[in-house]
Symmetry: C2
Subunit: 368 residues, 2 copies
Amino acid sequence: MTAEPLPPGATVGIVGGGQLGRMMALAASKIGLKSSIFAPDEDCPAFEVATFRHCAAYDDRAALERFAREADAVTYEFENVPAEALAIIEQHSHLAPNRRALEVSQNRLEERRFLAGLGLPCAPHAEIRGRNELEPAWSNLTAGQSDTLLFLKLARYGYDGKGQMRIGGAGDLAPARQWLGNEEALLERGVDFAYEFSMLCVRDQGGRMSCYDPPRNVHKGGILRESIVPAALPDDVLATAKDIAGEILAALDYVGVLAVEMFAERHNGGIRPIINEIAPRVHNSGHWTLDACPVSQFENHIRAVAGWPLGTTERHSDARMVNLLGEEALRWPSLLEENPSRSLTLYGKKDAVSGRKMGHFVELKPKP
Amino acid sequence: MTAEPLPPGATVGIVGGGQLGRMMALAASKIGLKSSIFAPDEDCPAFEVATFRHCAAYDDRAALERFAREADAVTYEFENVPAEALAIIEQHSHLAPNRRALEVSQNRLEERRFLAGLGLPCAPHAEIRGRNELEPAWSNLTAGQSDTLLFLKLARYGYDGKGQMRIGGAGDLAPARQWLGNEEALLERGVDFAYEFSMLCVRDQGGRMSCYDPPRNVHKGGILRESIVPAALPDDVLATAKDIAGEILAALDYVGVLAVEMFAERHNGGIRPIINEIAPRVHNSGHWTLDACPVSQFENHIRAVAGWPLGTTERHSDARMVNLLGEEALRWPSLLEENPSRSLTLYGKKDAVSGRKMGHFVELKPKP
């Protein structure tokens, strides 16, 4: 742990070169810190704005050591960084969030065990180790109602709807067996949710925690399309969701921003929050904080990592964030002309591959 | 002129590596453009965030040509760039604002002639070519009232109160003669002003112009300390000030952000705007736009230079911007702890030299 805050001019290392790393680097620059990006892809978005660039594979020990020694603190932008890379980095620099947070969230089974250990609410689920465990688990979770909707989710490398398969009835079992092979996976009952939302929380090195107003999130095909604040959660749901996030952050001794994706489940005529998954990082559903808050999720993350006092998580405006996927980003001139008050962010990605997150825009509205 | 807007991924060249260049580069990155900085000082703030870095002297023709060829458009961050450097750059890239805007504003005499040519209101003044012209001009401007306050301002390289001398009476003439030597200067009558404000306007390649709400500015020792919006200008003063700015931008066929520093002069029991000086660039008194507007002065400047549609110049909040000079910036931890809603920007400068602009913070308030 850094006892003293890093002084302006210090270097924050960021593992990963995507748009989250890019926006973290920009946030570090805002407050006078230097940024250093470690990423395997020369053309990655974050290199374009970084003070220092380390282009190497995640298993290149020498390169990881050079990167870590140069940085006064190191963080990461996504949970699919190999834990072994962080193990090397933490020997040479201050790492936040810690490796345990990454390990818990990069494996769905690990994550569920962690949440179960805290007694936190998740959808009914079972752990599956290879195809032969699929049918018994399915029978259990459907409990005779064979049209119950289930989701089979690979333990590793799932994000943006990847690594998932829908099981809507017995007829889906054979293709699911084939798809799964010998992989580990989570089989989960579909939640009857009214809407999705996410808790975006930041915790500093002294254990103080603060949450942004949770956005209501709209997904299509497993990919986030829109986040809207306020989410208009009932007060008791918001309070429960904050408690849940607080327990997770404390249990992980977490430093930085963490996102908890949640379902607002219909339950006994009311609504209750159910955890979908956690992400040990800044989160797509928090991009509106760049425009609607004096201190964005990116800046508060960097402040926490650097041992700085946290900024407010309050917002001055209501906001709607819309992701630009693939070719949608090519419409930027008309998006700006249609509404000159839109704040556009583009990530510097070269190819507008279908479904790829190319940028986003935010529309603000005065708070009522 | 670029007929088509530059596509995302294009490179905007910025001449000058100070904090204005740094914040321009960050704004370019936000909208998916690459930045390229040309500056003579290796340690300059803007290099830390730039995609491409050209470290060379302003009279290094080969380096200027390389820089200009690499950039799809070029702009500049301050008016003391040698005009000869821009003359080289404009042969190889699209330059905005144009060279004429720089030439007019980097010489006070040139600037006054330009403004006089448009019939725009300035304080009574005289052009001085060397010490021998001082006393006759002084007699003229004081018109027998020898305690009239005058300012003697060198024609070149004046900013932040540098290159100026106060003449409060006949006794100051001898030291002023010595200080002036053979330089060219402007001798100007002090304005009885109620307050200072600035117009921050942006004009696109098609001639459309838009102005931010003018901030009220507080200077000490010639250096800006605070900018506050709204400035609470009377409607007629605001309308006149906008007309003045519009005439300046149109006369220069200007593209980008231009600042007009103005005095609110007491006149016949009312207030009227008087031009102090113009700056062909983003301006310190507009830093609050980063926090209080969906589209900042930096982003609108880059959009204009890149031929993009301009964004709104409206603000969602009232704002107060406070400059951090020299050692004041060392107080950043307590500045953040005292008020977690402050948005802090630090410029990455190494040495907290007295009077040096090291950063600023902004406080927002809801609009009434």
